[in-house]
């Protein structure tokens, strides 16, 4: 057994002439949360499909828990959980029936369905048909379904997309609990704030290639500008804003001038967001 839960080595996939995943290589350590970020059509979902054995790579290799995904997909799938971007539940079955079905497919004998429902905030609604659930409830049930086999690796594809704040927070809490349990989490999202909050490292994917991969902090250090923003009282009684770049050789002098010669009302520090960095690297936004 290796310490790396996921290894992608030169992984490649194309649909006809379109290269969806272009020779990407990365690894994810056991117990780590990797945020996999990119705009729509960047290759995120295809990467997830390759890593979870839904697609066979056209080139390269994916290894999960020391096993080649293309050769032993079912052994791997028994140890992972996948939460899809689009709700794909059996709507005419209840929440309990959905969870029990997948528990049986995973061969899980001992299974506390009530506890799992409570974990994802669906206590009291388990016997209702899924067709009566709200979007947030369906998404939480999908996360619950991905947990029925206590997976070693959890793949979450846009788990909080379009959800109300309470549902999104409930899912983020489950992600952190799973990490605390020791699960490795592959989190696909284009919510940069969420990735920043949850991920140990983030990878940016654009046009099938990984263009950056590091911790959010180091990416910000490497690519972002840290600013100090100050509001000062203007001569006409109004407020003016001054910005000082913190990583410049002139910064100490500019700071001294600001505080000695101006009437400073407020001071804020500001660092680049992951979205700013993505735009800086790729030249385009995430949508």
């Amino acid at each position: 057994m290796t310490d790396e839960a996921i290894i992608a080595d030169n992984l490649t996939y194309f649909y006809g002439q379109l290269t969806a995943v272009d020779h990407i290589s990365f690894s994810v350590a056991e117990g780590e949360i990797l945020g996999f970020l990119g705009p729509n059509g960047a290759g995120k979902t295809t990467t997830v499909k390759l890593l979870t054995g839904q697609l066979v790579p056209k080139g390269g290799q994916a290894t999960l828990l020391g096993l080649d995904v293309a050769r032993r997909p079912k052994e791997i799938q028994a140890q992972i959980g996948v939460c899809f971007e689009i709700a794909n539940l059996y709507e005419q079955m209840s929440g309990v029936e959905n969870l029990k079905l997948f528990a049986r497919l995973f061969g899980v004998k001992e299974f506390d369905v009530a506890a799992l429902l409570a974990r994802v905030g669906l206590e009291g609604r388990g016997k209702d048909r899924v067709e009566t659930y709200s979007k947030g409830m369906k998404q939480r049930l999908m996360v619950g379904r991905a947990l029925v086999n206590r997976p070693k690796i959890l793949f979450l594809d846009e788990p909080t997309k379009g959800l109300d704040p309470a549902s999104a927070q409930a899912i983020r809490n489950v992600i952190l609990e799973e990490r605390a349990r020791g699960a490795t989490i592959f989190l696909t999202t284009h919510d940069m704030l969420e990735a920043d909050k949850l991920s140990d490292r983030v990878a940016f994917i654009d046009q099938g290639k990984i263009v950056a991969l590091d911790t959010p902090h180091r990416l910000k250090q490497q690519y972002g500008k840290r600013l100090l923003k100050a509001e000062i009282a203007g001569a006409d009684g109004g407020l003016e804003t001054r910005e000082i770049v913190l990583d410049s050789p002139d910064t100490p002098a500019l700071m001294e001038t600001l505080f000695s010669q101006e009437n400073v009302i407020t001071v804020h520090s500001e660092e680049a967001s992951l979205e700013d960095i993505f735009i800086q690297i790729t030249g385009r936004g995430l949508i």
């Binding site: 839904q54 992972i80 996948v82 899809f84 794909n88 059996y90 005419q92 497919l105 995973f106």
Partner: protein, 352 residues
């Protein structure tokens, strides 16, 4: 192969099938309707030939003779009344013999007769009425035909024991039940593809062969239970229960394969119904041949449902042995295996 997984899939599919109000309703109502149709159809065959006559000159002894041979003579008061009765559908044919008809026959003169046919009377049978009149003429004139005709019935002589319409209807009803379930299963699979639940199933330890086994079992169980129920209620198992069961089982495997093919080409419920009706029409053609003998010709044997229909018809109505339907059953089994296999291959491509 993990049987618990397959069992879980079958239970899930059966649950979803009966929670789909459309298919649940169609299944129950359809079965009741088929049983109702069966019992509403006549259970006897009228082997008498009714003919309307306006023939004031015809000796009563002739009409009695004809009646003994299975012909019912209904004498009318006038030619106009006879024509009205034929138009009204009281008789398929009406024969008018002039008042001097017998006399002319006796003297060797040429006698005139007129035959009225209903608009829908089969053209190829019209000539037989002319022959009937000629026979009648010879009897009256006392000059019998100088012909020795020897008749022989090949197989079981069904005179007086013809297969009634309701028993001829039975193969159509069986095919209808099977095809309705075909649409139900195709709709379940198509919905799995459309909603993405199939993707969720395929990232579990469930293997593709387990998935197909589960779907196949669901299709076979759904169709077999219903068609068996239909046959039991309509007394289809009275003569050859084992042959009937085997034929129906092969039929359910065949239609399950067809449902895989429909699911592979259909995108939603509407297209499932569209393709399903097409499949139903094609599969039912041999059954129409049983209902209306002569309606279809030998080309119907290229349709696999012919072998199901023929076996069901024979097993329900005649005392037959395995040997007489062995060929049918073998071809049916081969067709069922071919369609099931083809369905899996085509559907598997779509799953990817």
């Amino acid at each position: 192969m993990n049987t618990d997984m397959v069992k879980a899939l079958v239970v899930k599919d059966l649950t979803l099938f009966f929670r789909n109000r459309f298919f649940a309703l169609i299944t129950v109502l359809g079965l009741l309707a088929y049983i109702g149709i069966y019992y509403l159809m006549p259970n006897t065959v009228d082997e008498l030939l009714a003919i309307g006559f306006y023939a004031p000159d015809l000796p009563p002894v002739i009409t009695r003779q004809l009646a003994d041979e299975g012909v019912v003579i209904q004498e009318m008061g006038s030619e106009e009344a006879l024509k009205a009765a034929v138009v009204a559908g009281d008789f398929p044919t009406g024969i008018v013999l002039a008042a001097d008809w017998t006399q002319k026959l006796a003297t060797g003169e040429r006698a005139q007769a007129r035959i009225y046919f209903a608009a829908d009377f089969p053209a190829d049978l019209k000539e037989s009425y002319v022959i009937l009149l000629q026979e009648l003429a010879f009897r009256i004139s006392g000059r019998p035909l100088n012909i020795d005709a020897e008749t022989e019935v090949l197989g079981v002589d069904r005179a007086g024991a013809q297969v009634p319409p309701r028993e001829r209807m039975l193969p159509i009803l069986a095919v209808l039940v099977l095809v309705m379930e075909t649409m139900g299963l195709a709709s379940l699979i198509s919905a799995e593809i459309e909603t993405g639940t199939l993707r969720a199933l395929l990232v579990t330890p469930l293997r593709m062969e387990g998935l197909f086994l589960g779907k196949g079992l669901t299709g076979v169980v759904l169709a077999f239970v219903q068609v068996t129920l239909l046959m039991a209620i309509t007394r289809g198992f009275m003569r050859n229960p084992l042959i009937m069961l085997v034929a129906l089982f092969f039929g359910t495997v065949l239609t399950t394969g067809v449902s895989f093919l429909i699911a592979a080409v259909a995108k939603d419920l509407l297209s499932v119904i569209g393709w399903g009706i097409l499949a139903m029409l094609v599969l039912m053609i041999p059954a129409f041949g049983v209902l209306v003998p002569g309606a279809v010709t030998d080309w119907v044997k290229v349709l696999p449902s012919h072998y199901l229909v023929d076996t069901v018809y024979q097993a329900a109505n005649f005392d037959i042995g395995w040997q007489s339907v062995a060929g049918n059953l073998l071809i049916l089994l081969a067709s069922a295996a071919a369609f099931f296999g083809l369905g899996i291959v085509v559907l598997r491509r779509k799953f990817r």
